[in-house]
């Protein structure tokens, strides 16, 4: 189990090889958002003072200093206590409010199955389930998910027994490079439940795009409907035909059609 992490205030910044990489990253990217990763580092033998930190990151000194000054009374940089259940395991965390659910999963809990594709809600690679509902974890601040049960790709299988959608993606060769796959599978798991619960989609009926609101939620989804309902997950390899086949097979299996 990953250790709960403590966001440290700036005057107790740790030194760490990762921190050195991050410094470089700040220098290169001048993206203020990366600083939270530094602040979130744990375990250190050699804490830096805030002064040292600003001094070391010479090129980024202006940026770092402005970030420090922009922080409202330093309070934002302290962790806020937050409890989350991830893949059935409860985590009590101290979270800096800027940390997205995706960064929490990947950077702190080392659940790297959820992928950071675009980090802007445009690709779906970071799709996870929150209380069974599919969301994109890159635009969800972790702290807003307090109390929820998050399921990632790592939490779908029951021991060695793959989730039917995981098995179907293998069976139907539903990927090429695999980068979008965990998002595709999480998305499909929730999508089939949504459809069975009566969530409408859009589908072309008699040449016209209409609400697909079949009262018979036991009828199999058409390929057209599967494509519409899975359109929040992009696959740059273009494995779509096989992805549709994998999803279709599980839909039909569940509905026994």
């Amino acid at each position: 189990m990953a250790k709960p992490l403590v966001a440290r205030p700036l005057d107790r910044l740790p030194n760490h090889t990762y921190l050195r990489r991050q410094r470089q990253y700040v220098l290169i990217n001048t993206v203020a958002g990366q600083v939270h990763s530094i602040l979130a580092m744990q375990s250190s033998d050699n804490d830096l003072t805030r002064r040292t930190f600003v001094g070391v990151t010479v090129g980024a000194a202006t940026l770092a200093a402005s970030i420090v000054e922009a922080a409202p009374a330093g309070a934002a940089l302290q962790g806020v206590a937050c409890s989350l259940t991830i893949n059935g395991q409860q985590h009590k965390l101290l979270l800096e409010p800027r940390v997205t659910l995706l960064d929490l999963l990947r950077e702190r809990l080392h659940l790297t199955g959820s992928k950071k594709g675009c980090d802007h809600g445009q690709c779906g690679a970071c799709t996870v389930l929150a209380d069974g509902v599919r969301i994109i974890s890159c635009l969800a601040l972790a702290i807003t998910q307090e109390g929820k049960h998050i399921t990632t790709i790592e939490g779908l299988a029951a021991g060695e027994q793959l989730h039917p959608l995981q098995a179907a993606f293998i069976e139907h060769d539903g990927f090429q490079c695999g980068f979008c796959t965990s998002g595709q599978i999480c998305s499909a798991v929730a999508m089939l439940k949504e459809a069975q619960a009566g969530m409408p989609g859009l589908a072309t009926v008699a040449g016209r795009l209409r609400l697909a609101t079949s009262p018979d939620t036991h009828a199999a989804l058409s390929d057209d409907e599967i494509r519409d309902r899975m359109s929040g997950n992009l696959c740059r390899c273009g494995a779509y035909p096989n992805i549709v086949a994998a999803v279709r097979s599980v839909d039909q299996l569940q509905k026994k059609v």
């Binding site: 922009a70 409202p72 802007h120 969301i135 994109i136 307090e146 009566g198 409408p200 859009l202 209409r210």
Partner: protein, 330 residues
Amino acid sequence: MRPFTYSRPVDLAEAIHTGQRQPQSKYLGGGTNLVDLMKMGVERPAHLVDITRLPMAQIEERAGGLHIGAMARNSEVAAHAAVRRRYPVLSHSILSGASPQIRNMATIGGNLLQRTRCYYFYDPGYTECNKRTPGSGCAAILGYNRIHAILGVSEHCITAYPGDMAVALAALEAEVMLRGPQGERSLPIDRFYRLPADTPNVENEMQRHEIITAVALPAASADKRSYYIKVRDRNSYAFALVSVAAVLDIGAGNRVRQARIALGGIAPKPWRALEAEEALANQPAEEHSFRNAAQLAVRDARPHRDNAFKIKLAHNAIVRALMAATNEPV
């Protein structure tokens, strides 16, 4: 992203109070636009008031219409039986927008406040943007402006409204319910949004610390023939180049009793084609009338270098939406 503090009040009064007390605060809904804009450095709040768990997510029939709590998720509204039965154009518009994952997160109130997708606004690397930095100029007017507006623009901003749901709400003449430090009020959605004129940074009539509490759909707009068309570069998960919500009331002799037409993607706000609506009254509900109306709707269009195609596209989309609406059940 600029650091910020965070709070999650449990009731509306406390949320407003927190908003007032915390300098540079913003209310947080689903975060699908705000968090992205914060990552880009366009939005830089010092405090976020998370209002997603306030008890205002209910969808219920009221006064013959429908009352939709502002924290209802887009997907819940699209799936709601009364919405689908009585206001199907709203479901259709919501399901045309974003992705299922984003619709599961996005709230009705937050969606109304979605900001433009003008690339120059979204990227602070461009210093010129009157919306982001009043007085700095507009990079889009002389830039690449294919996605920009052709109606309602000013010399200071030519941004286009990107959303879908509010376009349907405009055609349904929805009311936006607000609550702030001064109490409650409501605005018709058409008056809720502002055109850029010489203050493109002010996008709506909301006052500081006000919260959208609900959207009310009037009984008068229920049970009409309606349709939503969205034209875009790919078939899903893309913003509209042009979208049209058409709501038709057809009376005896196949004559239009009342038409409501709203457009997305072609103006800085959901755009009511009022002249076209008036011209359709008492006309036969057929293609010839719809073509005349569409002509009126785009008559005052002012294209820029890359978006003149939107004039013809909007015209044709209006005709198609109206034709399709006549074939929809009441």
